[in-house]
C-alpha cells in the first residue's frame, strides 16, 4: 500500500473516529459509574443540531462563535442525559428503556429533527466550520505531518480528553471512587461515597461529551444539517466502549480502527479493490462477544473490568 493511501486512510480514520472518541469517552464515564446509557445517538443528534443552530445564529468572530456552539452542544447533550439520569437513578426505571426512550425522543424522528425544522436551519450552509490547524508549522512533514499536525481543534481536544480521562480514572481519587461505584456500589456507599451523585455527574458529563461528538458532524465533517445526520454513530460508540473494555486507551484505538475500516471500504473501492468490508467490520463485535463469554467463566472477569454493577439500579439497604 502506498504511503499516500495509508496517510489518507489514517486521516479519514481520524475524521470518522473523532465523534466516536468523544461520545465514547462520555459513555465510558457513565458506564464506569454503573449507568448504561443507550440514548447516545439522540444526544449526539441534539448536539449536532444545537451546534449548527448556534453557529448560524450567533454574531461575532468565528472562533468565539464556534466555542459558543460547542458549549451549546455540550449543554444540550447534558440536559438530555439529565433526564436519563433522573429516570434511571432516582426513579429507578429500567435503564435500557430509559436510554432508548431518549434516543427515540431526541433522535432522527424526534426532537433533533423538530428543532431543526423549528429553527429553520435545514438546507442552510454552515457559516462557521472548524478548520484544520497548522500546529508548529509541521503539517508538511511527510507522513506524520498531515496526521498529527494538521487536524482541527476538536481532534486535539479529543486527544486531550482521552489523556485527561485516563489520568482521572487511574491517578486521581475521584477516578478511584468512580471505579469503586461502578464495581461495587454497596462497598463504595459503605465508604461514604455518594453513589447517586457519582452516577448523576458522570451520566451528565457523558451526555455533554456525546453532544460534543455530535457537534463535530455539523461543525467539521460537513457544513449542513439533516435529520439523522449521525447515522448510527451513537450506537457505534456504545459498542466501542464495550469493545474497549471500558479503557480510554483502547477506546481511541477502536474508534480510529472503526473509522479506518469505514473509510477503507470506500477508499479501496475507489482504487478498484473489492473486499467484503462487512465481514471485517463484524469481527470486533464477534470478538467482543467471545471475550465477554470467556471472561465470565473465571476470575478473569475481574481483570476485564466490566463494571459489575452496570445496569443495576442501586438501592441502599437501610440498616
Amino acid at each position: 500500500m502506498s504511503s499516500n493511501l495509508a496517510v489518507s486512510i489514517a486521516v479519514s480514520a481520524i475524521a470518522y473516529g473523532t465523534p466516536l472518541v468523544l461520545a465514547g469517552l462520555g459513555e465510558l464515564l457513565a458506564e464506569r459509574s454503573g449507568v448504561l446509557n443507550l440514548g447516545v445517538e439522540g444526544m449526539m443528534l441534539m448536539g449536532a443540531v444545537t451546534a449548527f443552530f448556534a453557529s448560524q445564529m450567533l454574531p461575532g468572530p468565528g472562533w468565539a462563535v464556534l466555542i459558543a456552539a460547542l458549549i451549546a452542544a455540550a449543554a444540550a447533550g447534558a440536559a438530555l442525559a439529565l433526564i436519563h439520569a433522573f429516570l434511571s437513578i432516582t426513579v429507578r426505571v429500567n435503564q435500557i428503556v430509559s436510554g432508548l426512550a431518549l434516543t427515540i425522543f431526541a433522535g432522527a424522528i424526534g426532537l433533533s429533527s423538530y428543532a431543526g425544522q423549528a429553527w429553520g436551519i435545514g438546507g442552510q450552509h454552515g457559516i462557521h466550520q472548524l478548520s484544520k490547524l497548522d500546529v508548529f508549522g509541521l503539517s508538511d512533514v511527510p507522513v506524520i505531518g498531515p496526521i498529527l499536525f494538521n487536524q482541527d481543534a476538536m481532534v486535539y481536544l479529543s486527544w486531550g480528553l482521552v489523556a485527561l480521562v485516563s489520568y482521572y480514572l487511574y491517578r486521581t481519587r475521584f477516578g478511584l471512587y468512580l471505579r469503586a461505584v461502578g464495581e461495587s456500589p454497596r462497598s463504595a456507599d459503605a465508604m461514604g461515597i455518594n453513589v447517586s451523585a457519582y452516577r448523576y455527574v458522570h451520566t451528565v458529563v457523558g451526555g455533554a461529551l456525546a453532544g460534543l461528538g455530535g457537534a463535530y458532524f455539523t461543525l467539521a465533517i460537513a457544513p449542513i444539517w439533516t435529520d439523522g445526520l449521525t447515522a448510527g454513530a451513537g450506537w457505534i460508540a456504545i459498542a466501542l466502549v464495550i469493545f474497549a473494555f471500558w479503557r480510554p486507551d483502547l477506546l481511541v484505538v477502536g474508534a480510529y480502527l472503526f473509522g479506518a475500516l469505514s473509510s477503507l471500504g470506500f477508499t479501496l473501492q475507489a482504487n478498484g479493490v473489492q473486499l467484503p468490508s462487512e465481514l471485517f467490520s463484524s469481527l470486533p463485535y464477534i470478538m467482543t462477544v467471545v471475550v465477554l463469554a470467556v471472561a465470565s467463566t473465571t476470575l478473569a472477569q475481574r481483570r476485564i473490568g466490566t463494571p459489575a454493577a452496570l445496569g443495576v439500579p442501586y438501592v441502599r439497604e437501610e440498616s
Binding site: 477516578g175 471505579r179 461514604g192
Partner: protein, 530 residues
C-alpha cells in the same frame, strides 16, 4: 481447636492500663429499642481500657452487634451514653465515630474486588489530601503499617487475588491507616484458618502494645480466653458482668453466657410415648461425614454426621454462623456437598438438587421467608402450589388449573388460619406471621417425610410463634421427622427430643433434651468442649 495454654495474655496490657487514665471507650446505661418492642440493649454498661483487648462475649441475640453499632455511630442509643476517653460523645454516623478513632471491622467485608489493596485502603477517606492519588506513597505507608503489626500484605495486589484472611487484614489495615485507636472486631475468626488466627492474635497484641484498644466480639470461649485481657458478658440484651480473664475459666464464662438457671417456662419435651411405638424408629434423615463448602471458600460443615428419626425433633443449637445455614441448605438440596452421603428415607440424595430433595419428601421452611420461601408478587394460591405444581392437581399436563389451585388454597387457608382477603391476595401484602403460615401450609400439606425448619418463629408475635410451634409438634406426632435449627435456645430445648450443637461446622455434642443442662450446652456452643 485452639490450645488455651499455648498463648498467653499480653504482658503489655497490664502496664499501659494505669489506674487514673479514663477508659478508651465506654458505654454507660445504653438502651436501644427497635420497632416491635424488641429491646436489643437494656441498660448495657461496659468499658475498655487503653492498651487492652476487651472481649464482648455472648450468644445469639445478646446484643453485642447492636452495642457495637451504637459505638460506631450507626445507631443512636435511646438512653445512656457513649464515652470516649472519659468524655461523652454523640455519634451520628460512622464517619463521626472514625473521627474519634473508633473503627469496626465487620464480618462481611466491604472491599472492592477489582481494586488494589492500596486503592481500597484510601477509598472514600475524608482526610485524603489533594486531587491526585499517589499510589506509590500510599503503598509505602501501607507497607510500613503492615510490617509494624506483622500483617504481611502486598499493597499492589488486587482484592480478588487475596484469601479471606488476607482480605480481613486489608480491612484492619484500612482502619489503622485512617487512625484507628479503638478497633472493634466482629467475630473475626469466622473466616480464618488456624494459622491465620494465630497471626491475627499476634497482630492484635502488637496493636494494643502500641496503646490502641481492641474490642473483640465473640462467642467462642477458647479464643476469648486466649486473647482477651478482660471480658464483658452480654445475655439477652443485658450486660451481666465484666471479668478479668486471668481470674476466670471456661465453665464460669459459659454459665454467665447462657444463664445457669433454667427458664421456668421452658419445659423440655419428653418423648410422647403414647403415639410412637417403642420399636426402632426409622431414620428419615441420615448425614454421614458430610462436608460442605461455604460461600467464601471456607468449609462450612466438616464431617457432620446426624440422624433424624421419624417422629423425632432434632434441634440444632449453636451461635449463628457456625454452619447452621449451610446445614439447612444442604439437606434441602440447595447447596451441594463435597464429601459424605445424605440419605433421606434410606435412599441417597443427589447433592445440590433441590428438586430431588423435594421429590424425596423433604420440606424446607427457610430462615429468609420473604426472600426465599415465597414469591412475593404472586398470590397466596400460587405460592401454595410453588412446589406441588409439578404433579397432582392442579397440574393437568402442561396446563395449570388455577381455579382448582384457588379452591385448594382456600381450604388450606382455613386449615392453617392464614388471615388474608382471599387466595388471590399477593403474598407481599401479608403480615410476617401469615407469610410464615403460607410457607408452613405449603410445606406440611405436601405430606413430607422430613421438615427442615430454620428459625421458624423469628420475628413473629407471640400468637404466631405459639401456632408455628404447635404445628411442628403436631407434625412430629404424626411421624414426620423434624430438623429444627434455631438461634433461640429455649425454643430448641422446649421442642426437641434431642439437641445437637454445631460449633465451627462440627457437631460437638448431642444430648437428650430431657437431660438438657444449659451450662453444658452453653459450653458446647462456645467451643469449650472438644
Amino acid at each position: 481447636m485452639l490450645d488455651i495454654r499455648a498463648v498467653g495474655v499480653s504482658p503489655a496490657s497490664a502496664e499501659s492500663a494505669t489506674a487514673e487514665s479514663p477508659p478508651a471507650v465506654a458505654a454507660v446505661g445504653v438502651t436501644k429499642r427497635f420497632a416491635g418492642g424488641v429491646v436489643a440493649n437494656d441498660r448495657v454498661s461496659f468499658e475498655a481500657k487503653r492498651g487492652e483487648v476487651h472481649a464482648l462475649l455472648g450468644e445469639n441475640g445478646a446484643g453485642k452487634t447492636t452495642l457495637c453499632n451504637i459505638l460506631t455511630g450507626l445507631y443512636r442509643p435511646d438512653e445512656g451514653e457513649v464515652l470516649v476517653n472519659g468524655k461523652p460523645v454523640r455519634l451520628h454516623s460512622p464517619h463521626e465515630a472514625q473521627a474519634v478513632g473508633i473503627f469496626m471491622v465487620h464480618q462481611h467485608l466491604s472491599l472492592v474486588d477489582s481494586l488494589t489493596v492500596a486503592e481500597n485502603v484510601v477509598l472514600g477517606w475524608s482526610r485524603h489530601r489533594g486531587l491526585g492519588f499517589s499510589g506509590r506513597q500510599v503503598e509505602a505507608e501501607i507497607g510500613e503499617i503492615a510490617s509494624r503489626y506483622h500483617m504481611p500484605v502486598d499493597p499492589k495486589a488486587r482484592i480478588w487475588q487475596l484469601s479471606l484472611g488476607e482480605r480481613q487484614r486489608v480491612d484492619i489495615l484500612k482502619a489503622l491507616y485512617r487512625g484507628a485507636r479503638i478497633l472493634i472486631l466482629d467475630e473475626p475468626t469466622t473466616v480464618l484458618t488456624p494459622p491465620e488466627i494465630e497471626q491475627l492474635f499476634s497482630s492484635i497484641r502488637d496493636m494494643v502494645a502500641g496503646g490502641s484498644t481492641v474490642v473483640f466480639i465473640s462467642h467462642k470461649l477458647p479464643e476469648v480466653l486466649a486473647i482477651a485481657d478482660r471480658t464483658t458478658i452480654l445475655r439477652k440484651g443485658r450486660s451481666i458482668r465484666t471479668v478479668d480473664i486471668a481470674e476466670t475459666d471456661a465453665r464460669q464464662l459459659a454459665r454467665l453466657m447462657v444463664g445457669h438457671e433454667m427458664s421456668f417456662d421452658v419445659v423440655p419435651r419428653a418423648s410422647d410415648a403414647a403415639s410412637e411405638p417403642a420399636a426402632a424408629p426409622r431414620p428419615v434423615l441420615e448425614l454421614d461425614g458430610v462436608c460442605v463448602q461455604g460461600d467464601f471458600g471456607i468449609e462450612a460443615l466438616k464431617e457432620v454426621s446426624l440422624t433424624v428419626s421419624a417422629g423425632e425433633i432434632l434441634g440444632i443449637a449453636g451461635v449463628a454462623g457456625n454452619g447452621q445455614r449451610e446445614l439447612a441448605e444442604v439437606v434441602a438440596g440447595l447447596r451441594p456437598f463435597i464429601r459424605g452421603t445424605i440419605r433421606i428415607g434410606g435412599e441417597e440424595a443427589v447433592p445440590g438438587d433441590a428438586r430431588d430433595a423435594i421429590n424425596r419428601g423433604v420440606a424446607y421452611i427457610p430462615e429468609d421467608r420473604m426472600g426465599t420461601g415465597v414469591s412475593p408478587n404472586l398470590s397466596v394460591a400460587e405460592n401454595l402450589i410453588l412446589k406441588s405444581y409439578r404433579r397432582g392437581s392442579p397440574h393437568a399436563g402442561p396446563l395449570l388449573l388455577m381455579r382448582q389451585a384457588e379452591a385448594q388454597a382456600t381450604a388450606l387457608m382455613a386449615r392453617f388460619d392464614i388471615r388474608a382477603p382471599g387466595p388471590r391476595t399477593l403474598v407481599r401484602q401479608l403480615s410476617g406471621g401469615n407469610v410464615q403460615k403460607v410457607v408452613l401450609a405449603r410445606e406440611l400439606s405436601s405430606d413430607p417425610r422430613l421438615v427442615v425448619a430454620a428459625s421458624p418463629t423469628r420475628g413473629l408475635d407471640v400468637g404466631a410463634t405459639e401456632y408455628v410451634r404447635g404445628v411442628l409438634l403436631d407434625a412430629a406426632r404424626k411421624g414426620v421427622g423434624i430438623l429444627l435449627i434455631s438461634e433461640d435456645l429455649d425454643e430448641i430445648v422446649e421442642l426437641s427430643d434431642r439437641i445437637a450443637v454445631l460449633y465451627e461446622g462440627r457437631v460437638v455434642g448431642v444430648v437428650d433434651s430431657a437431660h438438657a443442662n444449659y451450662e453444658q450446652i452453653g459450653l458446647m456452643m462456645a467451643g469449650a468442649v472438644s
